[in-house]
Symmetry: none
Subunit: 144 residues, 4 copies
Amino acid sequence: MHVTLENAEAAIAKAIEKAREINTFMCVAVVDSGADLKAFHRMDDAWVGSIDIAIKKAKTAVFFGMPTGEIGKLSQPGAPLFGIEHSNGGLITFPGGLPIVDENGVMIGAIGVSGSSVENDHAVATAGVEALGSSELPAHPWRT
Amino acid sequence: MHVTLENAEAAIAKAIEKAREINTFMCVAVVDSGADLKAFHRMDDAWVGSIDIAIKKAKTAVFFGMPTGEIGKLSQPGAPLFGIEHSNGGLITFPGGLPIVDENGVMIGAIGVSGSSVENDHAVATAGVEALGSSELPAHPWRT
Amino acid sequence: MHVTLENAEAAIAKAIEKAREINTFMCVAVVDSGADLKAFHRMDDAWVGSIDIAIKKAKTAVFFGMPTGEIGKLSQPGAPLFGIEHSNGGLITFPGGLPIVDENGVMIGAIGVSGSSVENDHAVATAGVEALGSSELPAHPWRT
Amino acid sequence: MHVTLENAEAAIAKAIEKAREINTFMCVAVVDSGADLKAFHRMDDAWVGSIDIAIKKAKTAVFFGMPTGEIGKLSQPGAPLFGIEHSNGGLITFPGGLPIVDENGVMIGAIGVSGSSVENDHAVATAGVEALGSSELPAHPWRT
């Protein structure tokens, strides 16, 4: 199962509502469970550099079925995944990317947010996910 | 001047309305006048391979301020611009990409559509542009 | 608003004057507010490896509207933006890249300098920016 | 021997003078004999897509020590070098790139021009080369 366009629009609308509420200017990307872009919105005045980061956060979250910040803990110097960012055309492993998991525990896509502090990016991504389901994935099977 | 998010959403909504009317499944991208992605929607059941083509068509249209199909006429074997597609990280030079020009004759961005025949792609892109202005650029000045 | 060619030439001339004054050999790049290259000069005897660094510093500064060195503080191991350099085709996050902000507080582009110590790179970039305005950006709105 | 910064500035100034004379808006790049960028100017209102094309034309001319248009004749379908554009990170093989050869017959760099018809691009590149020498290369040795 993949996130539908209607799903993606709902998640982005909620994310942007949250972004406005906390006075930030965000790029918001939604990918499907194959890590292919489904929808993207760049708010006016958002950093141009956040376009690619938002998309890469969404892809990273779906590539490994976990929040980007979790991967970042494992990719620090000396940690097991040091340098993983060099794979898959470039990953972003700090917070702001979250899997989107439906009511059956199936990962249907992911959301990626960039444009402010990583705390704000994460909060806006969370708001987007909550429009559709959760970001908590059961162990397996989780792929659509 | 750049296309706003409100502009981009209006253009994409009109494009998708047209795509549904002619029973097609499209990817629609809008970039600003610096060729940076502003918004993107992939309709359900659209080709995954059309994501990149739609984005590259929009970028190509803004890179040269003209419909992508015009460039394609010039890039055929034996024609003056043969091989131009190798520039700028890859161009798409068949129809489906159009500049978006405001009422003052300023290019504020471009739209790119992919997912069906080039005739249909072009028709859907045209519908998107008409939500905002025209795709006819005066000679100069045209850059924001 | 974008930096004009006249602006870019003035900034580069000042930067190179400063580079000569402190006996360094620099690459100097100016990009517009869409991060697209406007002008570039490589002084004789400057490192060939500095070409790409100067351009990437200028792009990085405009991508996030801040001095490259500020991003570098946040991208260290354990810091919030660790690994951000993997985005946008490669960022450079040590000093030497600065936004160019006009008298209305609008970011019209950025300058990137590479070829010596980061202190010297930063000093030369600063001289270039001062030919046109400042590198201090108001909170918002700042995009052209 | 490499083109100096003074050389590159002189070539670009002449090229831009010619561009203005024929009412065009050009990107002009000069590379040294190692195909590394020496200087670049984008005139106001020039196509953003011409940045990369001008640089690639200059590189292509120095890569093979001949005008880009000569390579283009050989890279047509059925011709000996069909597809050569896929090498070296992307070549541009239509007119507008010319080697710069000094009075001793040594290739010291190349110029690349993009922004108008290939005839105009070639005329502007020629004007730039004439500020420094010729674009006619003796058989060999020609490398610096």
